[in-house]
C-alpha cells in the first residue's frame, strides 16, 4: 500500500516543484529569445517512465498549478499538458520505452506541439498573439533549451521512481540442470 502511494506522491512532488520553479525562475530565463519549459520536460520524463495515466494526470495538475500561479485562464495549460502527457505516456508504453532517444524525441515533439496548441488556443480565446514570435522567434531556442534540460531532468526523475518501485526480492531459488 505504501509503495502504491509513494509513486503518486513522488510524481505530485515533482510536478509541484517543477511548476513552482517554472513560474519563479525558469520563466525569467530568456536565452536567444526562448524560455525553457521545465514543467514540460518533467512531465515528459514522468509520462515516459510511468505511462499515459500518470502523464495525463500530472499534465492536468501541472497546468492547473501554472495557471493558478500566473493568474492565467484556468484550464488552458491543463488541456495542453494533459494531451501532451497522455501522448508521451502512450509513446512510452508502446514503442518509446527503453530507447535512449525517446526522452529527447518526446521533448522536442511535445515542445513543438504544445507551442502550436497554445498559439491556437490563445487565438481562439481572443488573446493578442503573434504567430511569428511564437513559432519563429521563440520556438527554436525553446526546443534547444528543453533538449538541454532533458538529460538531467530525466535522470533525476528516473532515479526517484526507481526508488519508488524496487523490484520484488526473490523468495526462492530453483536449481537448473
Amino acid at each position: 500500500m505504501t509503495g502504491r502511494l509513494l509513486e503518486p506522491a513522488k510524481a505530485a512532488l515533482l510536478v509541484f516543484v517543477a511548476s513552482v520553479l517554472q513560474v519563479t525562475i525558469f520563466s525569467d530565463v530568456h536565452i536567444l529569445g526562448g524560455t525553457p519549459d521545465l514543467v514540460l520536460v518533467t512531465l515528459t520524463a514522468i509520462a515516459l517512465l510511468r505511462g499515459s495515466i500518470y502523464g495525463a494526470c500530472c499534465g492536468f495538475a501541472a497546468g492547473f498549478l501554472v495557471d493558478t500561479a500566473n493568474l492565467e485562464t484556468l484550464g488552458v495549460t491543463s488541456l495542453l499538458l494533459t494531451l501532451a502527457g497522455y501522448w508521451i505516456g502512450r509513446y512510452g508504453e508502446t514503442t518509446g520505452r527503453d530507447r535512449a532517444h525517446a526522452p529527447f524525441v518526446s521533448v522536442a515533439v511535445a515542445t513543438i506541439l504544445v507551442q502550436f496548441g497554445a498559439l491556437i488556443l490563445h487565438y481562439m480565446l481572443g488573446d493578442a498573439v503573434s504567430a511569428r514570435i511564437v513559432l519563429l522567434d521563440a520556438l527554436p531556442p525553446k526546443v534547444g533549451l528543453n533538449l538541454l534540460l532533458t538529460l538531467p531532468v530525466y535522470a533525476v526523475v528516473r532515479r526517484l521512481f526507481a526508488f519508488a518501485s524496487q523490484p520484488a526480492a526473490a523468495t526462492e531459488v530453483r536449481l537448473l540442470g
Partner: protein, 289 residues
C-alpha cells in the same frame, strides 16, 4: 472484458475526463465575472503558492544575479557597439539639424533684406551658397554656386544682408569667383552716411579691415559713422556698385598737416571669414539671361 481492454478503457476515460474538465474550466473561467467562484479559487491557490514562490526566488536569487551578471557581460560589447552607432547617428542628425537651422536663419535674413526698401530696385537677387573659401590670407576670393546660367556676369556686385561683400571677377557656367572687399584690387566709391563726406574704400592693413581714403580734409568724419557705397555716373560710365549698400563703420579717423586727405579705418559689417551664402546683384537692365 480482458485486462488489457480494461486498462485501455480506463486510460481513455481518465484522459477524456481530464480533457473535458480542462474545457469546462476554460469555459467557466472565461464566462464568469472576475469575482466569480473559479477566480476566487485561483486567487486562493495563488496565495497558497506564494510562499513557495518567494522561497524559490530567494534560493535562486544568487544564481539569477550571477546569470544576469554574466549575460550582461556577454551582451555588453554588442550593446556598446550599438550605442556608439546610435550616438554617431544622433550626432550626425544634430549637426544636420543645426546646419539646417542656421541656413534657415540666413535665408530668412536674406529674404527679409531682398524684400526690404534697402534692397536696390534696379537689381535682381541671385542667392547662392559659398562653395569655396580662400585657402590662405594672400587670397581674397570665394567661389559661389551660381554662374552664367543664372545670369551672373563679371563685375556684378555681391552683398549680404549685412552689407557689401565684393564683386564677381570670374564666371563659369554654374559657378563664379567673387573677389572680396578686402582684396587690394578692389576700391569702392563710398560716403559717410552722417556727414556726406566722399571717399574711396579699399583694403586695410590688418585682416578684415578696410580704409576710407581720398576724403578731403575740408569734409568731416566721425568715429562711429556709417559708410555706404556711392554710385556715380560719368557720361556712359557708371559705378558697378548700387547706392546705399552698407560697407562698415568708421573706427578711427586722423589727419596730419602733410596729408591731403583723411586717414580713416573702417570695420566692415560683413564677416568675411564666415560667409555661407551671398546675394549676387544682377542688373535688371541686362535682361532675363
Amino acid at each position: 472484458m480482458s485486462s488489457r481492454s480494461a486498462t485501455a478503457l480506463r486510460r481513455r476515460i481518465v484522459a477524456g475526463v481530464l480533457v473535458l474538465l480542462s474545457i469546462v474550466l476554460i469555459t467557466i473561467y472565461f464566462r464568469e465575472p472576475s469575482g466569480g467562484g473559479l477566480h476566487s479559487v485561483q486567487s486562493a491557490g495563488a496565495t497558497v503558492l506564494r510562499p513557495f514562490e518567494v522561497g524559490a526566488q530567494r534560493i535562486a536569487r544568487p544564481f539569477q544575479d550571477a546569470y544576469g551578471y554574466l549575460a550582461g557581460l556577454i551582451h555588453a560589447k554588442s550593446q556598446n557597439e550599438e550605442l556608439r552607432r546610435q550616438i554617431d547617428q544622433l550626432s550626425q542628425r544634430q549637426i544636420q539639424n543645426s546646419t539646417a537651422l542656421r541656413d534657415i536663419g540666413f535665408l530668412k535674413r536674406e529674404l527679409h533684406y531682398v524684400s526690404s526698401p534697402e534692397f536696390p530696385k534696379d537689381y535682381r537677387p541671385v542667392t547662392t551658397d559659398v562653395i569655396s573659401r580662400p585657402p590662405d590670407e594672400f587670397q581674397q576670393q570665394i567661389v559661389v554656386e551660381a554662374g552664367a546660367a543664372e545670369g551672373i556676369r563679371r563685375d556684378d556686385p555681391v552683398v549680404t544682408p549685412d552689407g557689401l561683400v565684393g564683386k564677381v571677377t570670374e564666371v563659369a557656367h554654374n559657378s563664379a569667383q567673387v573677389t572680396l572687399l578686402t582684396d587690394p584690387s578692389i576700391s569702392v566709391s563710398a560716403l559717410d552716411f552722417q556727414t556726406g563726406a566722399l571717399g574711396m574704400t579699399g583694403h586695410g592693413q590688418g585682416p578684415d579691415t578696410l580704409t576710407l581714403d581720398r576724403v578731403l580734409k575740408s569734409q568731416t568724419l566721425n568715429v562711429g559713422d556709417l559708410v555706404e557705397t556711392q554710385s556715380f555716373r560719368f557720361g556712359k560710365l557708371t559705378g558697378i556698385y548700387p547706392e546705399g549698400i552698407v560697407v562698415g563703420t568708421i573706427t578711427g579717423a586722423s589727419q596730419r598737416d602733410v596729408d591731403l586727405y583723411w586717414q580713416a579705418q573702417i570695420r566692415p559689417r560683413v564677416d568675411f571669414s564666415s560667409l555661407r551664402s551671398v546675394i549676387v546683384l544682377v542688373p535688371k537692365s541686362r535682361g532675363g539671361s
